[in-house]
Point group: C2
Chain length 289, copies 2
């Protein structure tokens, strides 16, 4: 039942926000109030439903630790993280598209030489990743920096398996050469589930959704005078490309990890021939002035 | 920047909710997604703002304990609790209006005889509260039950001061007499601040808002065959009636606590004459069939 009181109530709350000294916070809180109230007016939750929501949010906060962020996960599975990422992206034609940072960029990637192997453990399917960092006009960006991180072949990041993986496994900080080129060796990543032992896992089960992300490697590419891009490269043909639990797949980010027969390149990387090879360029925008 | 991707994203999330087996949960989650996404598209939060929001929600969850519910407080100060309460209220003319339950109905009120004193400590301004519980047609409701709770004259509930107040101070469960009448003695309640030592307190300060609630006594009135009402009676003339931190004041719930010169009533209640006296009826709706 929507009465005159409820309309008046929304305006009373928005009025009470008027005194917020930070104008941007004022704008955000007023918009949040209007949208939250519109949601309540549309759905008319019962008191029991409201209590259940309060309980869910409380449990979500209490599941967070130094190495676990359940509210990020909640934002991810409702597509909010991807939406925030996208409204902040440059979005100009011809530039590498962005996608979510995700919760595992929590430790510094160790600086490595071009061509180094970021798979410190082995056991997965070996592959080479190479390409160039370019400006939008196609000119190379020498000295561009690539921050790379990925899960191992079993789908776990180093920080999730401190007893199994050495710190920095699957991670590397690379500096592109004088022609903007980068290359490194790793193992082909696997799909993996986001953590499901908390409230967000319960929510996914209630929705009948699986928790998997398609196989991907994370990148942050940056270069002087250019806007950095935070993105993934997804492995073409990976399971879950069409149902990523966090909605982060963009067509342009799916790349072939091609079965390659190239004995000289194999020798260069110390890798058995044939091997998988992903080749792509990362394209950055000049900073807007 | 709103791209085709962001519109498609919202629909992809809503589609992913289609498999929710509980139809009401499906409806709530789909509406939540649409409203949340609309909020993000309208305000375009930066990544830093998104991180601050995640941090705020996490801190709010982690402030909750067995005796502290910071998410209820957040819902309260944004007017959401009052809105949910109101969309659930019967709202028919002539019936006592509802207001929020609040966070302090967390312990059972002790059954007391009509006329008993719920102020077990003393020290406040003594008053008598009396009236009738009626059906909407004006007929009395004998045996109606009144659950009553209030803060003491310093603005604290018993559960907030376990070292100072005995359990059940300010609380009573009364059964109306054969003519639907109720009466009890107490002290005039005071305005009090909601807790401000957590994230919601920080938010109130950022908004330049005070944390006070006007003086009130809580009631839940119930009777066979009638819809119970959860409400407050506010003390006319109390400070903050026009700026309740949780937006719970409704005109019809403000009652005079009249200075009264009535030696015989004073004797009946064992109270010094003159005294304050609040008189009002609580009117319930028959259960809809």
């Amino acid at each position: 039942m929507t009465t005159e009181f409820t309309t008046h109530l929304t305006e009373a709350v928005v009025d009470s926000i008027e005194g917020t000294s930070d104008p941007r916070l004022r704008e955000l809180l007023a918009a949040l109030t209007r949208h939250l109230h519109a949601f309540v007016r549309e759905t008319e939750p019962t008191m029991a439903e409201w209590e259940r929501a309060v309980g869910f949010l409380t449990a979500t906060g209490q599941t967070c630790t130094d190495t676990r962020q359940e509210f990020v996960l909640l934002s991810d599975v409702l597509g909010v993280s991807m939406l925030v990422e996208t409204v902040n992206s440059d979005g100009r034609e011809g530039v590498t598209e962005s996608t979510v940072l995700g919760p595992f960029h929590m430790t510094e990637s160790p600086a490595r030489e071009l061509g180094a192997n970021i798979d410190l453990v082995g056991g997965g399917e070996p592959c080479v990743v190479s390409g160039r960092v370019l400006a939008r006009d196609g000119s190379p960006l020498p000295g561009a920096v690539l921050d790379v991180w990925q899960a191992n072949a079993e789908g776990y990041y180093d920080v999730q398996q401190p007893d199994v993986q050495p710190p920095g496994n699957g991670r590397g900080l690379f500096t592109a050469d004088s022609e903007g080129r980068f290359r490194f060796r790793t193992c082909v990543p696997s799909p993996y589930p986001i953590p499901t032992d908390g409230p967000v896992g319960d929510l996914l089960r209630a929705m009948g959704r699986h928790p998997y992300r398609p196989a991907h490697i994370h990148f942050i590419a940056s270069a002087d005078g250019h806007t950095p891009v935070t993105t993934h490269i997804f492995v073409a043909g990976s399971e879950y490309l069409d149902s990523d639990a966090v909605f982060a797949v963009k067509e342009s980010l799916v790349q072939d990890f091609t079965e390659t027969d190239d004995p000289s390149l194999a020798r260069e990387f110390g890798i058995p021939n044939p091997f998988r090879h992903a080749r792509f360029d990362l394209v950055l925008n000049p900073v807007r002035s």
